[in-house]
Amino acid sequence: MDPRTDEPRITVAGLVLRFAIVALTLATAYIHSTLGGLLFTLNATGYVVAAAAMVVPLGIAIRYRWFIRAGLIGYALTTIIGWAIQGPYYSTAYLAKGIEAALILFVVVDFLRADGNPVTVVKRELAQIAAAVRSRRTGAEAA
């Protein structure tokens, strides 16, 4: 872990994985951007934002990268489920869903490498929130 950022030091494998995630995210964003209509455009925009959030070197993004990963997994899953219900079923859609399935797989691997067990991550975050609340309450009482 890098003590300044709470994020594992980047290895070559990690770099390749991150690059693949960004490439897949931008690929599905591009496909959705070509479909026209508000829904597809918003979907594409969401993917672009997620791709940026996966690599942006801002402290807050690095601190909460686990949440961004989880969000990207949920976003891609929602997109796939929405398509499975609504369609349309044709070649470009199958390609986009294949990309999204691979994206989910890669992000899961990235999550496990970078953050470890998701349950542990959530417990840790909840403990930190509880500690912050306690600290604020103690401060308010002292004042």
């Binding site: 479909l35 026209g36 349309p88 044709y90």
Partner: protein
């Protein structure tokens, strides 16, 4: 069956494009008038433009297979799919989805007399009515 229909539509579209490449069909007022023929015999034509069908009412012969010319005049992919009603739960015909600008001629199987619903499967807000009579 769908592949066969798509292949036939592709072959027909190629022939139509080769024959009519210099004269793109332009109905006089496609938003109000039911579509009739447009450069491909008596085949009705549907045009997709600005994420909408310019033709929202089609009159087709009942009880016989007919050709339907679909002119996608923009980049996003569209198709024409015919359903029994607006719930779009029961398909009657599903045309190939393709990006434009391009034209395809669909071979639509015979419809029993009555009113049907058509839409673009990619953009379900693009819709209209087919009347077979």
């Amino acid at each position: 069956m769908q592949r066969l229909a798509a292949s036939l539509a592709l072959a027909a579209a190629t022939l139509v494009l080769a024959a009519c490449s210099s004269s793109a069909p332009t109905p006089a007022d496609p938003t109000t008038a039911p579509s009739t023929s447009a450069g491909n015999g008596d085949a009705p034509i549907v045009i997709a433009r600005d994420l909408a069908f310019t033709t929202t009412e089609l009159e087709v012969p009942a009880g016989q297979e007919f050709s339907l010319v679909f002119d996608n005049q923009e980049g996003p992919p569209h198709n024409v799919a015919i359903y029994t009603d607006e719930s779009a739960s029961q398909q009657v015909f599903v045309g190939e989805i393709f990006s434009g600008p391009a034209t395809r001629t669909y071979s639509v199987p015979a419809l029993a007399p009555g009113s049907y619903f058509f839409r673009c499967d990619v953009h379900p807000s693009m819709q209209g009515t087919v009347v077979a009579q």
